[in-house]
Symmetry: C2
């Protein structure tokens, strides 16, 4: 089956229904487009595990807390289709905003504590928008498995929590972060960096590596790691650290003392571009 691009929920359901009727396991890869090798890794995993792979491409307005970030988010559907085709994707679902949100829509999925800190704190409403659009996409595609990247670790925790709490009949699959040779996590927003910003963007990964290394050396106090993060960031004049946090890897709530596995996570700003990254570390 060659790649088919669908714009409407009705068409998508019909096509996925055919595949399901033929016995295929359905795999969904929800994206906002501007596909890169990180998405490629999700697609590759879905392709290996599912008979029918659906990539959704939808820049979801309700998860953007900053209008400019929404406006400037790269939209590259032609390139995205060219990216999907050789990777064996069966269906690209690229709905319009009107197809996804009807007038008068007023329902939101709210996840609790797991959405409160870090990204939840600095991007008010973000995870409400994420949980809601993922709930919608899971209902529209009705996949057996859905693939998400570890790069958005808190998003993954939010989605896992929502799926468990609301009994969605889907398996959530986590796929490891893909990085540039210097360690920068792939992100569609990287395309907006100037050459100098691009060189300095590795700062966040350097913070995470330094913190993980310090934990391996025996540090157990999160506050000490925050001092370290500030020191590392100071070497990158184009970079502002929005937060660096040491969090419980399931609850995504900050911890003060490291007594087990933790998620090291942070956000930086370079000009008007905001980037996030994270690493798992074990105390």
């Amino acid at each position: 089956m060659s790649l088919v691009t669908l714009r409407t929920i009705t068409e998508l359901r019909a096509r996925v229904g055919e595949a399901r009727g033929a016995g295929a396991v359905i795999g969904a890869v929800p994206t906002m487009g501007a596909l890169h090798a990180g998405h490629g890794s999700l697609i590759e995993r879905a392709r290996a595990e599912c008979g029918c792979v659906v990539v959704t491409v939808f820049v979801n307005p309700t998860q953007f807390n900053e209008p400019a970030d929404y406006t400037k988010y790269p939209r590259t559907l032609e390139a995205d289709l060219a990216f999907c085709e050789p990777r064996g994707v069966d269906i690209v679902f690229a709905p319009s905003e009107a197809e996804m949100y009807s007038a008068g829509a007023q329902t939101f999925v709210n996840v609790g504590e797991v959405a409160e800190f870090m990204e939840g704190q600095f991007r008010p409403g973000h995870f409400r928008g994420v949980a809601t659009v993922v709930a919608k996409l899971l209902h529209v595609v009705a996949p057996d498995r859905a693939y998400f990247g570890e790069k958005d670790a808190q998003q993954l925790a939010v989605i896992r929590r929502m799926v468990a709490d609301l009994n969605f009949p889907v398996e959530i699959v986590e796929v490891a972060t893909v990085r540039e040779p210097d360690g920068l996590a792939l992100s569609s927003r990287n395309a907006r960096l100037s050459p100098d910003q691009r060189r300095q963007a590795v700062a966040l990964y350097q913070v995470l590596l330094a913190a993980r290394s310090r934990i391996l050396d025996g540090e157990r106090v999160a506050g000490e790691l925050k001092h370290l993060a500030a020191e590392v960031i100071a070497r990158y004049p184009a970079v502002r650290l929005e937060y660096f946090e040491v969090a419980d890897p399931i609850r995504m709530a900050p911890v003060e003392n490291i007594t087990g596995p933790v998620r090291l996570a942070g956000a930086i700003r370079l000009g008007d571009v905001r980037l996030i990254d994270n690493l798992l570390a074990s105390g």
Copy 2:
């Protein structure tokens, strides 16, 4: 196939999956048990339209705003099973609270304006609990059709809104209210009325009938109908009117002037029993 009672989500999914695999349309009738002829009407409709009928019996704690109402809500599972069996129900799903809500559950579905007025105003958090448990049951049963009673008209509007906004792949079917000979709408809570309260409980239906009649006579001002409601209720000393409202039948927001179809809806209290009822009227 004779009636089977299931307690766990895993067993239910397996059984429903078999029926779906055999080509059956799946019909769900979500209830809180204490089944009466109103539920019987839902079951009858589901039985006529579906190859596999699943009645869920779960007194959902998250939709009770008053602890006493939750504690005193009738629980009559044996009688409910005896009610379902001769009506051709295939599966009764009667999960425990622990089966439905795991420790740490923190996700809620919030519907907006449609859940704000009337029951939403007098029962804070009620519709959040309803929307959340219905979302869960729809994910657990995965029915093609789900049946709800017109008696809980605002609940129906909330569920319709949620299903549309979140793209649930289910058809919501509305079934007309079933009434006692004197007009009292059937409700599991009627069992808690004393003989005198039972006689006076018809007050709310009398309010609704009087208001509808006044609209047929040409009244277009909601405020006038509210005066009328107070007058009618005054004839029933055991009854306190909590609210009487004239609402848009889709948005469920109060209207001041009647220019088309409206939902007349109210709630009364008799001692510690609270009853609701409604009628559609056309201006």
